[in-house]
Amino acid sequence: MRVYADNAATTYMSETAMNEMIDCLKNYNGNPNSLHTDGQVTQEKLDQARAKVAKAINAARDNEIYFTSGGSEADNQALISAARGLREKGKKHLITLNIEHHAILHTMRKLEKEGFEVTYLAPEANGIVDVEKIKAAMRDDTALVSIMFANNEMGAVQPIAEIGAACKERKILFHTDAVQAAAHLPIDVQAMNIDMLSMSGHKFHGPKGVGALYARNGIRLLNVIEGGAQERGKRAGTVNVPAIASMAAALEEGVANMEENNKKVIALRDRLIEGLSDIPHSKLNGDPEKRLPGNVNYSFEGVEGESLLLALDNYGICCSSGSACTSESLDPSHVLLGMGVPVEAAHGSLRFSLNEQNTEEEVDYIIEKVHKVVDLYRKMSPFWDELLSGEREHCI
């Protein structure tokens, strides 16, 4: 059996998205900037896609949507625009979370080198930030608050509407990295007072290499890429209409089916959580309820994530881990550490991210095999021996 449970890393393209892309590849090859018919019909496709994306997040205007190469680019542009753009008005402070995606964190580090001060708040133990802490960190010279809609590793959903309201009151710009949330959780940028938002096509059955940045009218974006006047002069380069149209179609479909899909996915997620809960010295990371519909992040004491991951891969199960060994940088998950999970527990973590295509049978298979591999690697682990004998103290 092959079970794909790594949708937080990327999702497989839907039929809708693929068909839209193929149609564009065949029939809409003109450059939207060209004035002839070939160009203009492609421009129309682009306009339609923009309208779909705007509608999906209830943006007030279609032209508040800017297409990018993905979530990372959108994150970069949002932060740089707010920070550098408001520096001339005396703003030099930014607020974010220590559990953000590296696209946010590394851009923040870059801005720090330019002289900005950044406050990195820690969430509570359940992975959710206390809004009072954000309010307490706000200063008169704060340019921007950037808080992710939902965390990619342990799924915790942040109190976005509350944060938006707080930012509005202090007249501070609010950006949210909604890469994991778009098409999975309801987003209303107007009601939630979101000024800027990032999304990425390949997280909701769209193609890789395309994303969007929402920026409310009145916010001056600064270019990450200079050149031609595409995307209202804010993002140069001939746009990838097939990818954009495909992403828009996927987003529209995802939002339309969200309620129904989530019923199913949440049930599967909770079944998996329940099924793993009898493994001794293990725990769920992140709030059990305020979490992404498909996310299960579990730590198992005494064993290491990559070995579990490879063993599960041999059983046909695709998932990921927060261990140091599984990251390119050899650092354990900054997200788990940031919310206070002990480093040993971060090393022994697995992340399963389910979606509406998974089944109960698959979840039961995951449960069975996780029990098996945790048991196997605990038997092989001197760390586990020492935990059992009392030589080392349990942390879970």
């Binding site: 064993v303 290491e304 490879l310 060994c325 599984t326 390119e328 354990p332 040993e344 682990s381 001197p382």
Partner: protein, 139 residues
């Protein structure tokens, strides 16, 4: 693919996993903070490693290198075991990704720790290279 066939073989079918109750020497290196711990048990008779067992907390590379290392020293003399380098272990596995090479260093260190323990326990004279040796620091 992430790992060579040999690495996957040693990962899926690790050789010599376990403990030796009355081991001649036991060596443990690494720590849970780093995500890597290797424990080697040696049974030595007449300066020959007649049996070796290991337990490892760590990634695929860690398990594979431990397993291969035990195979490379089983039945060998202490001197031969002292000559074992992490490079030899990696070569025997047909290579490891660059960022995983440090796992093989851990295997080399675990063997030396076990040998050091053997000399300490048995009261025999420790070879100079072992007396002056300390395990690598993990960052």
């Amino acid at each position: 693919m992430l790992y060579t066939d040999k690495v996957m073989d040693h990962f899926e079918n690790p050789r010599n996993v376990g403990v030796i109750e009355d081991a001649s020497g036991v060596g443990e290196v690494g720590n849970p903070t780093c995500g890597d711990i290797m424990k080697m048990y040696l049974k030595i008779e007449n300066d020959v490693i007649v049996d070796v067992k290991f337990k490892t907390f760590g990634c695929g590379s860690a398990i594979a290198t431990s397993s291969m290392a035990t195979e490379l020293i089983k039945g060998k003399s202490i001197n031969e075991a002292l000559e074992l380098t992490n490079k030899a272990v990696v070569e025997a596995l047909d290579g490891l990704p660059a960022r995983k090479i440090h796992c093989s260093v851990l295997a080399e260190d675990a063997i030396r720790m076990a040998l050091k323990d053997y000399y300490t326990k048995s009261g025999k004279e420790m070879p100079e290279e072992l007396a002056n040796w300390e395990p690598h620091e993990e960052e």
